[in-house]
Amino acid sequence: MTPLVLLDGVSRAYGGAAAVHPLTLAVARGRTTVLVGPSGSGKSTLLRMMVGLVRPDTGRVLFDGRPLTQASAPAERLRMGLVLQGGGLFPHLTVEGNATLVARHLGWPEPRIRARLDALLARVQLPRDVLGRIPAELSGGQRQRVSLVRALMLEPVLLLLDEALGALDPIIRSELQDDLKAAFKSMETTVVLVTHDLAEAAYLGDTLVLLRDGRIVQEGTAADLVNHPADPFVEHFVRAQRTLPGGAAR
């Protein structure tokens, strides 16, 4: 089976400084792939290439077997959902307005919109009465859940999350991790998630892709990274982030 997304020899530089060195990465269908690494490792740039927000200087991006170009990106994006660190909710629209903007533009019938909204609210554990609120009236955790509803509204084949939990406090974050894990499990959707938190990556991801300085250092399961580190950096990164025995938080 072809990968859902193939980054084929892509690279990208910003003002002469390489953010991503030429690399190839395949995102397998129906699984959760986590791009993990320290700040500046290029993980967010790779995620943005997948949705066409960043164009690679070299190489190409294949989405579902077809090249993702400037011309094809808008249509393909209807099959993707993106959740950003701050939620990226439009402040002038209500929760419902944010979540249903594209569905209404596509002319979905009202009953279909309502049914989809209800199902998603239940899945992300939001009460129905948030629908009439504006983003400024939501808590940080609620905003991320609404952002997730918006990203999932059109039943995308690819869900992309960029540090989606990074701005939340630990308790909310842990609750949301649980909800995300449950949601990923119940859906057929392919998920690509970016985080600098190895514990989060291990908890949510099927495949981890560890990046450093715009290069892939190691690709595998969390167990692979812990038990068979490819090089001293991986070992160092794992040790720096591992939750200590006895349950004390970092």
Partner: protein, 492 residues
């Protein structure tokens, strides 16, 4: 038969339009304009008086374009200002030159109103000044001249060339304000017209032009030949040689010092001289206010609508294309730096007089705030919202209408508000080109030193600006989405 029919049709067509009489922004010209208008009306020719236009050039251009049919002018002004000294300032010399421009002299009114220099009698007496040449001995004297006199071909510069005046303190100001300055002692010498009412009222000494610099300034009525039907010609010819210099001084004094409306002054004169006149109609304060408000609002509304309709797309374009955006912002910025008066006058050859040049000038003036704020509002959208919007996969126009413009709406609305307030203020200058509005009473108030009249324009204009400001605040609550009036997610 056919020819007769043609003449009849022509007469109907020509008769259908009103004859437009113009006047310059000083009392004598307004009174003469009124006299001409009422004389035409009395002959059954529908006529309107477009009062107090900015200056000789504006009236002449309007006559050339056919926006005006008639206006009072002076032979010396024609020779020096219009024909730049290339034509003698005599009736015989001017007639062919005017004919070449499709203009004829319809009446020679019978008096001259030459330029002269004047001082207060006691000051002139103390310093022993009788003639222009005597001024050479007093370089400390302060001169104040009307702006037109400073600029025109036969004005100050030519005078200085002929006499070699040494005075350094020479400034331009409104002719009527110069009289106020003379009265208060802030000014020693000013230019004056020999039929000015103030000469007697303020006790001024008219100095002798001992080197005969100033040409003759016989008052005439200019008539655009294309508008010169036999009826119009006959009506105006009735005014030939009917106004003597002392009569004109008296009429000026009546309007300016006794504060009698020019329309009434003109009617009284025509009746006293045994000439026909349409009944005098005096416009009341309330009616004038309504008319001025209507004219003012029309100027502002049309100009503002234009600024928004053009400025919004320009702002969007500027935000989309960074390099082109700099060019657009620069261009509308340059428009803003041009003096509004200059824009008004530049518009006249293109658009004539009346509301059109004023609207065009206000439109250009109102562009910058709209373009700049649209650009700023769109480029100010945060990176995350920009990415979120793009990732949705909406087509460009839908995204613009549903996301980008609403997000930029507080900034855009603020720009439109700025534009509107500027417009309300600047529109008062529209009266200089005959656009009416609250500038009209301000202009007349300055001319007649009538503070009450001035306030009839200034106060409503100021109130209107406040109302517009307040109106936009209210509009903001309706147009700007609720979520953009609260502190945003990032600010909490």
């Amino acid at each position: 038969m056919n020819a007769g029919l043609t003449v009849l049709v022509l007469a109907l067509v020509l008769g259908a339009g009103e004859v437009r009489v113009g006047s310059k922004g000083f009392t004598e010209s307004v009174v003469l304009g009124e006299i001409a208008t009422r004389t035409l009306a009395a002959s059954g020719i529908p006529a309107v008086h477009v009062r107090e236009l900015g200056g000789t050039r504006i009236l002449w251009e309007a006559l050339q374009r056919g926006d005006l049919d008639i206006y009072p002018e002076y032979t010396g002004t024609l020779a020096e200002e219009i024909f730049s000294g290339g034509v003698p300032a005599t009736l015989e010399g001017l007639r062919p030159a005017l004919a070449a421009h499709g203009v004829e002299i319809a009446a020679v009114l019978g008096f001259s109103n030459g330029y002269a220099l004047g001082m207060r009698e006691p000051v002139a007496e103390r310093l022993g000044i009788r003639r222009f040449s005597d001024l050479l001995r007093h370089p400390e004297l302060r001169f104040a001249f009307s702006n037109e006199f400073l600029d025109r071909g036969d004005g100050w510069r030519a005078l200085q060339r002929v006499y070699g005046f040494p005075q350094k303190d020479v400034r331009g100001m409104d002719h009527d304000l110069a009289y106020r300055g003379l009265e208060s002692g802030a000014v020693d010498v000013t230019d004056l017209y020999s039929t000015d009412a103030e000469i007697r009222a303020l006790g001024l000494r008219v100095l002798e032009d001992d080197r005969r610099h100033f040409p003759d300034y016989q008052a005439v009525l200019l008539l655009r030949s294309q508008a010169a039907t036999p009826a119009v010609r006959a009506a105006l010819a009735g005014l030939d040689s009917r106004i003597s210099a002392p009569e004109m001084v008296a009429l000026n004094a009546r309007a300016k010092l006794d504060h009698v409306q020019e329309a009434r002054v003109a009617a009284e004169f025509l009746q006293g001289a045994g000439l026909a006149s349409a009944p005098a109609k005096t416009i009341g304060v309330a009616e004038r206010l309504v008319v001025n408000l209507r004219d003012h609002l029309l100027l502002v509304a049309v100009a503002l609508a234009g600024s928004v309709l053009v400025g919004l797309p320009l702002g969007i374009l500027a935000a989309r294309r960074a390099r082109l955006g700099q060019v657009v912002l620069g261009a509308v910025g340059v428009l803003q730096t041009l003096p509004s008066l200059a824009i008004l006058v530049l518009m006249i050859p293109l658009l004539g007089i009346g509301a059109r040049p004023a609207i065009a000038a206000l439109f250009l003036y109102g562009l910058l705030p709209v373009v700049r704020n649209t650009h700023a509002g769109l480029t100010g959208i945060s990176g995350e919202l920009r990415e979120a919007a793009e990732a949705l996969g909406l087509p460009g126009m839908t995204r613009l209408l549903r996301i980008d413009l609403p997000l930029a709406s507080p900034s855009i609305l603020a720009g439109v508000q700025t534009s509107a307030v500027i417009c309300v203020g600047t529109a008062t200058l529209g009266a200089l080109v005959g656009a009416g509005g609250f500038g009209q009473p301000i202009l007349t108030g300055i001319r007649l030193a009538d503070v009450g009249l001035l306030l009839q324009g200034a106060v409503p204009a100021a109130l209107l600006a406040l109302a517009v400001q307040g109106g936009f605040e209210l509009l903001g609550r309706w147009v700007v989405p609720r979520g953009l009036r609260l502190p945003g997610p990032d600010e909490r």
